[in-house]
């Protein structure tokens, strides 16, 4: 019953969190996952979210076994 939360780039550095495992019982949405993993830090306006490596909106549901990733706008290419 675990949800894995990952942070990347400047977000990982500012929060000082790379990966965190959460109890799935207490998490039903992306916002729940953010709040629990960051102890209620303010979510940046421009944040991007992916579940199981596909982009989702912040109100998306989260289920047991999901990998939720938070990261800033991408800058490749």
């Amino acid at each position: 019953m675990t949800i894995t939360v990952k942070f990347f780039s400047s977000l990982r550095e500012s929060l000082d969190i790379s990966t965190q495992a959460l109890n799935a019982k207490n998490v039903s949405t992306v916002v729940d996952a953010w709040d629990q993993a960051t102890n209620g830090a303010k979510m940046p306006d421009n944040i991007l979210v992916a579940i199981n490596m596909d982009y989702v909106e912040r109100n998306h549901s989260v289920k047991d076994g999901d990998e939720v990733a938070f990261f800033p706008p991408v800058t490749g290419g």
């Binding site: 992916a50 982009y55 800033p72 706008p73 991408v74 800058t75 490749g76 290419g77």
Partner: protein, 147 residues
């Protein structure tokens, strides 16, 4: 079609030639090849940049490169595509990205290669961290506009 992440420097033109030589089915069939090569500059936002680290979200990045390139095949009549992208430690002049598209006529190759590059820049999870001449570091916060 081939999409690949590289963690060491590569020569875009050698890669292009090498890949094209493997395209036996395309010999005599393609009339156009559009190629984009993106390289690291030694200057950004008025600061000298001496190195860069390109972070990525490994599984998702590979998935998106493939997804974006595959989508181009559904939108335009293209014959083949090659997309290579660096990750890790990069120096000025190093190639960051190679996008090449083969088609019968130029319009499809131009449009599809531009689509792949722009989608890659806006969707694939890569992040650039620059090291400046005084050894300070900064994250690149956004891509340059496409036009």
């Amino acid at each position: 079609m081939k999409t690949e992440l590289r963690d060491s420097p590569f020569n875009a033109w050698q890669e292009l030639n090498g890949y094209q030589e493997t395209l036996n089915d395309l010999k005599g069939k393609h009339g156009a090849t559009a190629v984009f090569v993106g390289s690291m500059r030694d200057m950004n936002e008025s600061s000298a940049v001496k190195a860069m680290f390109l972070e990525h979200y490994p599984e998702m990045t590979s998935r998106y490169l493939e997804k974006i390139t595959h989508h181009a095949f559904t939108q335009w009549k293209i014959l083949d595509a090659l997309v290579l992208h660096r990750v890790g430690h990069i120096l000025p002049e190093d190639t960051i990205v190679l996008v090449a598209v083969w088609s019968e006529h130029r319009e499809e190759a131009f449009k599809a290669s531009r689509y792949i590059l722009e989608e890659l820049k806006h969707r694939a999870p890569f992040w650039k961290k620059e090291t400046l001449s005084d050894n300070s570091q900064r994250w690149v916060s956004q891509n340059t506009p496409s036009s």
